[in-house]
Amino acid sequence: MKRRKFIAQTAGASALVGLGGLSLNACSTLNRKHITILHTNDVHSHIDPFPTTHSRYANLGGVARRATLVEQIRYENPNTLLFDAGDIFQGTPYFNFYGGELEFKLMSKLNYDAATIGNHDFDNGVDGLLAQIPHGTFDLLSANYDFSKTVLDGFVKPYKTYQLDGLKIGVYGLGIALDGLVTKRLSKETIYNDPYEIALDMERLLKEEEQCDLIICLSHLGYEYENPQRPSDVLLAQRTYNTNLIIGGHTHTFLDKPEIRTNLNGASVLVNQVGAYGLNLGRIDFYFDEQHSISADGVSISV
């Protein structure tokens, strides 16, 4: 209501200046849409801030502080989504004692919208992950893990779409190869499928069938590897057509700022990862204008 009143007052005041150019100018500014995407990765059960005596991360992080920041940003822009790119579990006694219950409950209190599944989220097995699902109000998204022969069948979605301010946002999840990272005893009959192929399927579906205006990948593949055979976020960005943003995890990569790569359409893709342990929050703001008001390659990116 406040905002509407402000617009009305502005319009009224401008009207006194002159009706001439107003209707033309007003269009692009008043009718602009703004979506904010917030994200974390590899929080690894770090609920409390690091102790003040910690040699590297003294007094940083903490979920109750993150809550304040998220609240501030949601107040600024109600059209905000909050995601996590996996490895929610493992790293403090909170996980050993409560099996991830508190992590899921707190993420729900912060209104996380979705998370993908990291290798450590299997640390108490598929049964251990299933046990925490009732404590979460957010979705678990993974398109390349096939859980159909496990107890998680039906509890993990490949993708989800969100309607915000008349825009449709599609989000899909990708997980890392389990071999060598997760024992069979934990992952049971989970099948890992090629993330590149699945990503192409997902973005085609989200673009063409779901008609999404914005496509986001939550990835636990890892940022970049020396071995080019290992799937990574940087390579994924260059091998897809319509994914606008890749929110990464696994490698605990502390980027200074989101990285920009070029996709198969020659367009820019943002790849971001915010280290680990809830030390940082990633924030990506997307602005949408009318079709005719900008040129084809006119997306301006500032990081």
Partner: protein, 255 residues
């Protein structure tokens, strides 16, 4: 200008805007990205702090309650080929796994081996708590029992002898002559017999790591006990009043 007139003008402008903006803004035009450090400048949300407090208090109460007494420091650098802290850990592994393995498989465990890098902390003299066990073994590694044939045993022994790090062993004695050549190996009280298979308790980390880690190149079979290394340590602390371990002659080189 009266209210009515303003209202009229606003309506006219609104119509103009609607007319000129018949296309919905769906074209991505601008992206801004930042990474925001979570510092103390963001005040904690009280309701979240209050929600976490009982969980935290219970953890602290459990982790900090005394389970046993440690009369002298258990460290990782007090011996050349074996150390007090290494011996403690691998002795616990052997003691706690032997009855479990017998119950699960009806087979006799022969010895235990652990990797030096997997022991993440020493234990100082004083009260020992579950927190010590978390510090020593923060990882969720399970105890696995690996079956090795004579050749794989020889590979493992060679690896232990040639390693620059002091990997702890229990239930096995390795004696080197003064030149560092193998003099004798005893397993579970008897001389090493290359014609039979042996069962060794270890961390599943060393099993999953495979040949790249060096311990086990060929495994005849692997049995997953489902028992966490850390839980074995805590269970041991609960059973005993004092926790002691010493450098001994389980792995020595003659002078």
């Amino acid at each position: 200008m009266n209210i009515l007139k303003i209202k009229q003008i606003v309506s006219i402008i609104t119509i103009c805007i609607l007319a000129s903006c018949k296309n919905d803004p769906t074209q991505l035009s601008e992206v801004k990205g930042t990474i925001i450090p979570i510092t103390e400048s963001y005040t904690a949300v009280d309701s979240i702090e209050a929600y976490v407090a009982p969980y935290r208090n219970r953890i602290n109460a459990v982790l900090d309650s005394t389970l046993a007494i440690v009369p002298k420091d258990l460290v990782l650098d007090d011996g050349e080929r074996n150390t007090s802290m290494g011996n403690l850990l691998v002795d616990i592994l052997l003691k706690e796994t032997r009855p479990l393995f017998l119950k699960q498989t009806d087979k006799e465990l022969d010895f235990a081996v652990f990797n030096r890098g997997g022991i993440r902390s020493i234990i100082s003299a004083g009260n020992v708590t579950a927190r010590n066990a978390y510090e020593v073994m923060p990882f969720e590694n399970f105890i696995a029992v690996v079956e090795l044939d004579g050749k794989a045993m020889r590979n493992l022994i060679d690896y232990l002898i040639n390693s620059s790090r002091v990997h702890p062993i229990a239930g096995m004695q390795i004696v080197l002559d003064k030149n560092g050549n193998l003099e004798s190996v005893n397993v579970n009280g008897s001389p090493f017999d290359e014609n039979r298979n042996y069962y060794v308790a270890t961390s599943d980390y060393l099993v999953q790591g495979g040949p790249s880690i060096g311990f086990f190149n060929d495994m005849v079979s692997v049995h997953d006990t489902g028992y966490l290394v850390r839980n074995a340590i805590i269970d041991y602390f609960k059973k005993v009043d004092t926790v002691t371990a010493n450098v001994d002659n389980r792995f020595i080189q003659r002078k």
